[in-house]
């Protein structure tokens, strides 16, 4: 069973935020959305969460009661305590009393928030706030979890804890779609979608994307075309779209290299011109 969007276009006035985007989000998997600011990640997630009406195309999502959404940088009420946030959100999903406690207690325990029940959400550290937001989004055991950059600005230790919580939701059968700016995180997702200017530039399993990248990336000290090269530590990586000059060493790219090459290709080849 899966969720997702097909041929989705979203326009805000004259601005096309998403242009014929298709993404499948499977249960028991993490689908990672990557791309820079303005790529369309948030619009896609908000459409999946039912907060944005598609201009055209179809959206497949569960009913509101089976969907959890964590917006960027938020997800809780800062003037309420952790416990009040839990009962407020729980109430919205018809959970209260012992039923709510049965569900919420282990989640708060695992989030490391059990001792923070009486603290105001606004006074929690960034990492704890994000874990609270995630706990609230999954309080009602949703089938689809939509997470907008849950790990941005969160320190590495909280990030790994959050990734564990996400992993547990996936192991329990949820479909998770999350935007991330961290490539190492995307590399651990089952499926990765790279967005650029509202279009899908790449999508697939991380290994498949790395294995099937068009062209070749080499490591070099002296790039042939600096517009197709970028620095990685003291050396350069350079992307050759068609053929590689003799004598250069082929490099097994990582996901970041592949995304850079995909963005370069997008600029090199006009839209609609298929090679």
């Amino acid at each position: 069973m899966s969720f997702g969007v097909e041929n989705l276009t979203v326009r805000f006035g004259r601005v096309t935020a998403l242009d014929a985007v298709s993404v499948v989000v499977r249960r028991g998997e993490v689908t990672a959305l990557v791309g820079g600011d303005g790529a369309g990640k948030t619009t896609l997630l908000r459409t999946l969460a039912g907060l944005v009406e598609p201009t055209s195309g179809t959206v497949r999502r569960p009913g509101v009661g089976r969907l959890g959404y964590l917006p960027a940088g938020a997800g809780s009420w800062k003037n309420l305590t952790v416990a009040e946030n839990v009962s407020f959100i729980g109430g919205a999903y018809g959970l209260s009393g012992a039923d709510l406690a049965d569900r919420a207690d282990p989640i708060l325990e695992r989030a490391g928030l059990a001792d923070a029940r009486d603290r105001l959400a606004g006074q929690l550290s960034g990492g704890m706030k994000t874990k609270l937001g995630f706990s609230l989004a999954m309080l009602h055991s949703p089938d689809l979890l939509v997470l907008d950059e849950p790990t941005t600005g969160v320190d590495p230790v909280s990030r790994i804890e959050l990734w564990r919580m996400i992993s547990e939701a996936v192991a329990d059968g949820a479909a998770v779609v999350m935007a991330t700016t961290y490539m190492d995180e995307a590399e651990r997702a089952a499926f990765v979608v790279l967005l650029g200017d509202g279009r899908v530039l790449l999508s697939g399993e991380p290994d498949e994307l790395i294995g099937s990248m068009p062209g070749t990336i080499v490591e070099t000290d002296a790039p042939v075309d600096s517009s197709l090269a970028w620095r990685v530590g003291p050396v350069f990586h350079e992307w050759f779209p068609w053929t590689v000059p003799d004598g250069l060493t082929w490099l097994r790219p990582d996901l970041e290299d592949v995304c850079i090459a995909a963005e370069l290709r997008d600029r090199l080849i006009p839209v609609g011109d298929t090679q």
Binding site: G28, G36, D37, G38, G112, M128, P156, V157, E168
Partner: protein, 306 residues
Amino acid sequence: MTAPALEARSLTRRFRDNVAVDDVTFQVDFGEVVGLLGANGAGKTTTIRILAGLLPPTSGQAFLLGSPPSRASRRRLGYVPQGLGLYGDLTVRENLAFAASAFGVEPATLIDPLAGASDRIVSNLPLGLQRQLSFVTALQHDPEVLILDEPTSGVGALAAARLWDRIRDESDRGVGVLVSTHSMQEARQCDRLLLMFDGRIVGRGTESDIVAGMTTVEVAADSCSWSDAFSVLANDGLLVTLNGTKARVIDLAPADVEAKLREHGIEADVQVVPSTIDERMASLSIRAPAWKEDGSLSRVFPTPAS
């Protein structure tokens, strides 16, 4: 021999009873890019503030360009804070002129795409352009030392690569660069890394030097039982994360992982894999029971028996 660009000698800073920076010693030479890693509260920001002369140390010494930080040496420092340090309600051109006059230099000449946006209000620009402007602003007085806080966070892969091209160009011309970061992509751009934990430096060198001595195993169960394998390990109080459909477990020998799975009748392929720096940080905080504010890991996971 010339003095290094930045140097911390037994740097210590206390805030009341809390030791934020504890006997920290390192240097950044001219022409190298050094990455400073650590969780929130590890002491990175306090260390940077002392080196930049914004905060005095309780003991120890900080050197910026060979002498204790002063107004004169700070003129030769470029700093890009995580908040970018721009004035959101001024235009691109006004931001540049303001910073240039503070340093007594001519404003830098803008190139596209910033040149085309020179009369736009900064808060209306996309983050990628704001980051570029923050760089140009910090570099226009030709600093000899650069301190950058997560310089490329939030921008796309190509935009981040272009910002790093810029940073490496600066180090090629001899600038010493200290980068404070949470991002493993940024860590890979550095010549050398320092890992801070609880106010101290607990790891130095390359990524593999920093993760040396810890164990991470990956568990590949067959496709129908991977979630069972994951749940068994997670319910056992281990720090388990997912890599595709493989479970990653830190700080437990492969034989012990296999034994735990077998107790539940699960056969799986268990392999030792290279650890990540994030996992190293998580491991450190699990082992330090009295860890600070966000010490939730140590409460969730008991300290492993040695």
